[in-house]
Amino acid sequence: MKSQFSFLRFFKSQPQVIPGFGLSLGFTLFYLALIVLIPLAGIFIKSSSLSWEEIWMTVTHPRVLHSYKISFGLSLLASLINGFFGFVIAWVLVRYSFPGKRILDALIDLPFALPTAVAGITLCSLYAPSGWIGRYLELLGLKVSYTPLGILLALIFIGTPFVVRTVQPVLEDLDQEVEEAAISLGADRLQTFFRVLMPPLIPPLLTGIALAFARAVGEYGSVIFIAGNMPMKSEITPLMIVIQLEQYEYAKATAIAGVMLVVSFLILLCINLLQSWSSRYQRN
């Protein structure tokens, strides 16, 4: 009784000095429910029109299983590669100066701003056997466009900004006095790097990798052109949804979408935990 009372009081009689609480929160919840939450809930309701057995058959079909391997495996690999290069890029942009640095810094966000279809046709043309880069790789016997390697490249492209943009601000705020202290206590540059500089950079690095991974798993536009989309070879999971939709198998499409949604929720949860860890780290 008492708890209910205080809960109600929280909403009703707490003196709100700034007006607009009801209006702004009400509109926010209404809009979010209408555009995002109710439609997404439809995924789970629609899948339940299939029996468990049918759902299981759909989401474990060999072609679909292989697409998980491609989507999740290559996304993980791409986000780890982004982790390494993103860290190096962030380091270089914060610590060194060289001609053209400002332009490069501004260009980092290009994969956010460039439409995915544009990225898709451009990467595909670049790495096709007749393309600017593809023709040289062909000499080395490397096929990129229309293979899983092409998918990996597209995923690295779209994941580039995440790690740079999470590590960069933390690196900028690091106090160089700590480094000086480490050195005056006899640490060499490598020790300083790994034991003084690295620890506070790990949470933002992991957050960036998780964000890149989340984006890569769901990516469609930039991958679909370069992938070649060969069954059991270079099909991604979002494509499996599209293929089911084109055959008007809405329930099956929805079942596969359900698997992807659960994974997305889990990644989102991880990112939130990482971010709260990250901000705790910075406060200490």
Binding site: S24, V92, V118, Y220
Partner: protein, 292 residues
């Protein structure tokens, strides 16, 4: 910001050798950065414009002014003009409620706003087919009234709205959180009304962040592919947006025309990045003025 930068510079000028990496390490790292960004960002960018103009300016002009291209441009603008204002109002409402008040479940709400980022755009399209499609919840009643949403322009608009929901809210929430609510409280105490506070106190403080959010939202709305592709039905001259038109041209081996259309969106992306850089330096300037 400027304080930190100048302090770093001061250190570097007087710093001992142990504070720096050896010269070859520095050169190696800069080399890795420049080559990575050259291969992954600059080369594709150059490729778009060079391919677009590879058959001369008249072919370029013809590709972007043929009727299917113009109709794609029109539909893209139409969808964007609806999606961006709606998500602008949402972003302001969400940021106001989250940053000016305390309520239980706030963290969950922030996570939910981010959902469209975490969900594959293909799923963003699928959910509206489940609701408005012929087999969907409202499928029958819509058909009875002769309204078509899926595989028509309204579907394209819905898909565009879905994928761009978080953009403006995400720019505003951290900004308004950092600014706090002291100035708003002061204005209220001095007798200002809620709307007066919003227009005269809050809006001037957040204008740059707001503008950047709108530009990002606009860019994504015009360039969205996955969600729109599922919802559009690909009827040439009717339900194609610029990205879908690019896909058709490319798959039909009209490569130059495809890149000509792509160059329009790429130009938009470059403008977005330019404005972003300008706004960031502007915001930094204003912060410095406040400090000094």
């Amino acid at each position: 910001m400027a304080g930190i930068v100048s302090r770093l510079k001061g250190h570097r000028a007087s710093g001992s050798m142990a504070l720096k990496e050896p010269k070859w390490v520095k050169r190696l790292l800069i080399g890795v950065t420049v080559s990575f960004l050259f291969i992954f960002l600059i080369l594709p960018l150059a490729m778009v414009f060079i391919s677009a103009f590879s058959e001369g300016i008249s072919v370029y002009y013809a590709s972007i002014t043929e009727s299917a291209a113009l109709s794609a441009i029109r539909l893209t603008f139409f969808a964007t003009m609806i999606a961006v204002p709606l998500n602008l109002i949402f972003g302001l409402a969400a940021a106001w409620s989250i940053t000016k008040f305390e309520f239980p479940g706030k963290q969950i709400l922030i996570t939910l706003i981010d959902l469209p980022f975490a969900v594959s755009p293909v799923i963003g399209g699928l959910i509206y087919i489940l609701i408005f499609g012929s087999q969907g919840w409202f499928g029958n009643s819509l058909r009875d009234h002769g309204i078509q949403i899926v595989f028509a322009a309204p579907g394209v608009v819905l898909g565009t709205i879905f994928v761009t929901v978080p953009f403006i809210a995400r720019e505003l929430i951290p900004l308004m959180q950092a600014q706090g609510k002291d100035q708003e409280l002061a204005a209220i105490t001095l007798g200002a009304s809620g709307w007066q506070v919003f227009w005269r106190v809050t809006l001037p403080k957040i204008k740059w962040g707001l503008l950047y959010g709108v530009i990002l939202c606009n860019g994504r709305a015009m360039g969205e592919f996955g969600a729109v592709s599922v919802l559009s039905g690909h009827i040439r001259g009717q339900t194609n947006t610029i990205p879908l038109h690019i896909e058709i041209l490319y798959n039909e081996y009209h490569t130059t025309a495809a890149f000509a259309m792509a160059s329009l969106l790429t130009f938009l992306a470059l403008v977005t990045l330019g404005i972003k850089t300008y706004i960031e330096s502007k915001a930094a300037d204003e912060m410095n003025e406040e400090i000094s």
